[in-house]
Symmetry: C2
Subunit: 153 residues, 2 copies
DNA sequence: TCCAATTCGGACTGATTCCGTCCGAATTGA
DNA sequence: TCAATTCGGACGGAATCAGTCCGAATTGGA
C-alpha cells in the first residue's frame, strides 16, 4: 500500500508548475531542473498530466506548459488519479471480479475505506500547497491563502 | 496504490478464523479449504499473523490456530500492518530520507492523509466482520461506468 | 521411551509490475 | 528552412510479489 513513485513525483511537478503560473509557460526541462527529478521522468509525467487536462501543453519554439485550470481547482486526488488511474485499494472497489468474494465479508467495507482515502487526497488543492504551509484541520480558521486566480491565455 | 493481494487474503483468513473462535482450534488447511485460498498461501499468512500476535498457534497433533486476542480487539489495520508492515503511503511518512524534499510542499500533508487511511482501517474490527453486514453509510460512488461496449455476448 | 502423525516456519523460484532511459516523429515560431 | 519543444512508443534493469516446496518442532499414542 504505497503510492507509486511516479505519482509522488507528479505532485511535486504540479506543485512546481503552479509556482510558475502567471509567469508564462514553463518547459519540462525547467521543472526537472528545479525539482531535481530526471528530465525523462518529468516528460513522461507531463504527458499523462496533459492527457488528464491538468496541464496544457503548447508545442513548438517558446512552447511549454501551464496549468490546465486554476490551482484551487486541482486536487492531489486529481494528480494521483491522472498517473495511477482510479483510486482503488482492492479489486472489488473497481468492480473487478474476485475469486474469493464468497468468503469475503469485507466487500461492503472497502468502498468506505476507499472514500476516506480519496477524500483526504481531494481535500488538498494546489493552491494550498503553493502558499505557506497551513494544516487544513480546523475549518474555523480563516481562508489560508486568498490567491488571485491567474488568467489562462 | 493497491493493497497487496496477500494483505487482502489475510483479512479473509482472519475473518474465517474468527468464525471458528470458541470451537477449539482450526488448522491452516481448514481455513484454506473454507476460503478457497491455496494452502501454502494460507500457511505463509498465518506465519506472519502469528508473529504479530493476531493468531496463536499450537503445534503437534491436534494442534492448530486460534485468535490471539478477542475479535473486537483486532482491526483490519492490525491485519494489514502484520502483512505489509507499517502503513505508509510515502517514504516521508516512514521518516525515510527522500531525495526531493527540497521541492516538496506535500511533506506536512502526507501524515494527515495517512492517518485518514489508517483510521478508516482501524475502525473496522473482526467482531464487526463476523456479524451480519451493517453499512455505516452507503455513499460509494456508483461509478457511472462510461463503458462503450454495449454488446452482450 | 520411542515412533509417527500433524503442524508451523523459513528458503527458494518464476512471474509480474514498476521505474528509468533513450530515440524518433510531430508541431510551432523565428 | 532551421531551431526549439512536446509527444509517443520501445527497451532494459530492478524490485517486489505470488506461489511452491521442504525441513524443523511438537504432541499424542503405542
Amino acid at each position: 500500500m504505497r503510492l507509486s513513485n511516479l505519482a509522488d513525483y507528479a505532485v511535486i511537478t504540479m506543485c512546481q508548475a503552479a509556482l510558475h503560473c502567471g509567469n508564462g509557460r514553463v518547459s519540462a526541462a525547467e521543472l526537472a531542473a528545479e525539482t531535481g527529478l530526471p528530465v525523462p521522468t518529468v516528460q513522461k509525467l507531463v504527458s499523462k498530466l496533459t492527457g488528464a487536462g491538468l496541464l496544457r501543453s503548447v508545442r513548438g519554439a517558446h512552447g511549454g506548459l501551464q496549468l490546465g485550470r486554476p490551482a484551487a481547482a486541482i486536487t492531489v486526488a486529481d494528480i494521483v488519479e491522472a498517473i495511477e488511474g482510479r483510486i482503488a485499494l482492492t479489486a472489488c472497489v473497481d468492480h473487478t471480479p474476485c475469486d474469493f468474494e464468497a468468503a469475503c465479508n469485507m466487500k461492503p467495507h472497502w468502498p468506505i475505506i476507499n472514500n476516506a482515502l480519496r477524500g483526504a487526497l481531494a481535500g488538498i488543492t494546489l493552491a494550498q500547497l503553493r502558499g505557506p504551509v497551513v494544516l487544513a484541520r480546523n475549518e474555523d480558521a480563516p481562508a489560508p491563502t486568498p490567491i488571485i486566480e491567474e488568467t489562462l491565455s
